[in-house]
Symmetry: C2
Subunit: 416 residues, 2 copies
């Protein structure tokens, strides 16, 4: 007996970056959690199945947030004008330490997960903290929500306060424990998560690379976020040719998302390309922390893979629509100084936040046949709907909408 779900409404998605696919007032059919097809008139074989009719509302793919720190959720929008080190010490590290307390972890992670769901982020790559127990809580909380997530216990063994770093051995044991426990989960799975090269020892990177290979796991980390950091990495890893090269050297680029990547040099661009690394553009974070603007059009022209991240709490807004908008805005500012790199269009930025990011989770982020049916139903209002095109209405939701406009969420054909 197949599990069939049929929705009716205005269906919008991006198969390619260049334009929206729009099916006005159509049926979308999901069979066993995957898209079977989109129809202007419902085929006869489905006529005995119930149809959920969303009327003039829009049905779009769920968002994929490829970079955020669950353990920083409470500090969103605070200390935003501090210097980076002050921010890390006064806000971030102290807070991350507390996730060793499971009750606290449960309270904060539940709030985090509820808000992810509310804002339509149905797939995400999440940094927890270095606490194994705390990360286990996050796995459990997310499992209950029914959304898709890759969750990493953060590995860090140096260059941070004692109370949040671990010995390489302890870090390894915790990581392996969580992998063993969650590797066969359907939606919420482990991801190898060295915080970033400066807080890892070479021994730890080697161990993580081996774990990634042994269990065939994806990897997430940070790279080339700011110029001082790039210089620091070259000092910490004098034998590596560059920052991204450090991760490659330890076998950490086989199935990888790398946050920020603002300052990739030509060799790193080649490494990223060769390894199909998805670079995660986190526009709000890059302004808040004064990192700079990713040359996103240049990277796209070169064929690099790019997704979007909220980077909670370097970025302050958990709704990925905000990252989509800020990516457009920053690409406009960048284009003013670099007219050879025109700004992102709305369809391009939407594609990055849905289909391009979704790729990291498999067939996610589009409504093409065979894709998982992960969808959001968006409501605006009659006055807007009566006057504007569907493309305008979707743009409006991205720019000024929020969780209140998302009236239903589906993952693999199941309503959350």
């Amino acid at each position: 007996m197949k599990d069939i779900l049929i929705l009716k409404g205005n269906i919008l998605f991006t198969k390619t970056r260049e334009k929206f696919e729009i099916h006005k007032n159509s049926y979308i059919v999901s069979v066993d959690g995957r898209i079977e097809g989109i129809y202007a008139a419902l085929p006869e074989k489905y006529e005995n199945y119930p149809v959920t009719d969303y009327g003039d509302r829009m049905i779009i793919p769920g968002f994929s947030d490829l970079h955020l720190h669950a353990a920083q959720y409470l500090q969103c929008g605070m200390g935003m004008t501090k210097q980076l080190l002050e921010w890390l010490n006064d806000y971030t590290f102290d807070l991350e330490k507390e996730f060793q307390n499971e009750d606290f972890a449960k309270e904060v992670y539940s709030r985090f997960a509820d808000d992810l769901v509310a804002h339509g982020t149905l797939s995400s790559c999440i940094f927890a903290s270095s606490s194994t127990e705390g990360t286990e809580v996050l796995f459990e909380v997310l499992k209950k929500k029914g959304i898709r997530a890759l969750v990493g216990k953060v590995n860090m063994e140096r260059n941070a306060p004692d109370f949040i770093i671990e010995s390489t051995e302890k870090s390894f044991e915790g990581t392996r424990y969580l992998i063993e426990k969650y590797k066969d989960e359907k939606l919420v799975k482990p991801i190898i998560t060295p915080r970033f090269a400066p807080t890892s020892t070479e021994e730890s990177l080697k161990m993580l690379g081996e774990l990634a290979e042994k269990y065939n796991l994806p990897v997430q980390s940070h790279v080339d976020e700011n110029i001082d950091e790039v210089k620091w990495v070259s000092e910490l890893y004098p034998d590596s040719k560059n920052y991204l090269g450090v991760y490659e050297q330890y076998g950490l680029l086989n199935n990888t998302v790398m946050a920020h990547a603002i300052y990739l040099n030509d060799d790193e661009i080649e490494i990223a390309k060769k390894n199909n690394v998805i670079l995660v553009h986190c526009p709000d974070s890059n302004i808040n922390v004064r990192s700079g603007i990713m040359p996103i059009r240049k990277y796209l022209n070169l064929g690099l893979k790019i997704g979007l991240g909220s980077d909670i709490a370097g970025g302050h807004k958990i709704g990925l629509n905000e990252a989509i908008v800020r990516a457009i805005q920053l690409s406009k500012l960048y284009s003013m100084d670099h007219p050879e790199y025109p700004p992102l269009s709305v369809s391009e930025a939407f594609y990055l936040g849905t289909r391009a990011g979704g790729e990291f989770f498999g067939k996610v982020g589009s409504f093409e046949e065979g894709y998982y049916f992960d969808a959001l139903v968006i409501e605006d209002d009659e006055l807007i709907a009566s006057r504007y095109s569907l493309e305008d209405r979707l743009e409006r939701f991205l720019y000024i909408g929020d969780d209140r406009n998302i009236i239903a969420r589906y993952v693999e054909g199941k309503k959350l």
Copy 2:
């Protein structure tokens, strides 16, 4: 019999740009609509008056939005990647035309006014459209809301589609009619509003300058928003020494807010200073329309007056907290290329959006003695409140809060 209002809570405001004044768990007393004082313990003379106790919530001044277009409200967040002319023609002008229809005007302006109130903008400088009838509707709608606003019928006589421009005579008659009708209003008053120099004739600017003088009215317009526009103005007004000089020449800078002002030259800076013009920084609009980044720190260092504007619908978000945040973000980006101009602090940006902008309306935007008691009550939640300072909590509201966090609004000591 005096009208006395007493609130209790955590009181925050900015008397100066440099820092927040914070009165934890204190009483704020308003007498006949103006601040009488803030007290840690309530003075004996007030002990028989009721106190509204907001507990651990924050009480802050209302926001002042010095530049927005009510007639563009429906198109917020649409056409944002179009070129300026295409945007104006396809979205803005067509829409503005419809405000000749009073029913339509009433529907859209009501929604606009509700959202202004919801987001805590208790004072604003508003462009309506060129329709006298439509602008009259806006006056009436705003009057009912009980907020403070300066409303302008837009004067435009050339360089725009025929269907929204008027003859100088008609433009004059409509403007004078509205002035006569609303000049003695308490909260919602007229402001002289030439759209911008390129759509005005010299005859019209002269007439508007005379009206401003005769009725002692404030003025609002646009200046130096982008480089092509600056060049265009120099061609249209060959006898004026520069763009801001055009307005000065016609007596339009005596009590004036000027939106954007990104590209002021040295002479214009002197003109702005001499005339106490308040320059209105509209950060989201300036990115959306690819205008550039206002050198705000430079202007502040030079002693220029600056307020903030949402610039609906060039800017997409009506909440002025978003303009406060984006102003900080853009000042950070600007500082990366201009390290001599450090970014705005939170208190500085908050000051721009409250006290500096409020100045245009009189004693508005602060809780110093004698200021109008225009206030917002902000609710976050217990977990945040138990862990973070009031300054952090206010910053968090600015960065990630929205209308849902504003649980009460007061104008001149009256709860809306």
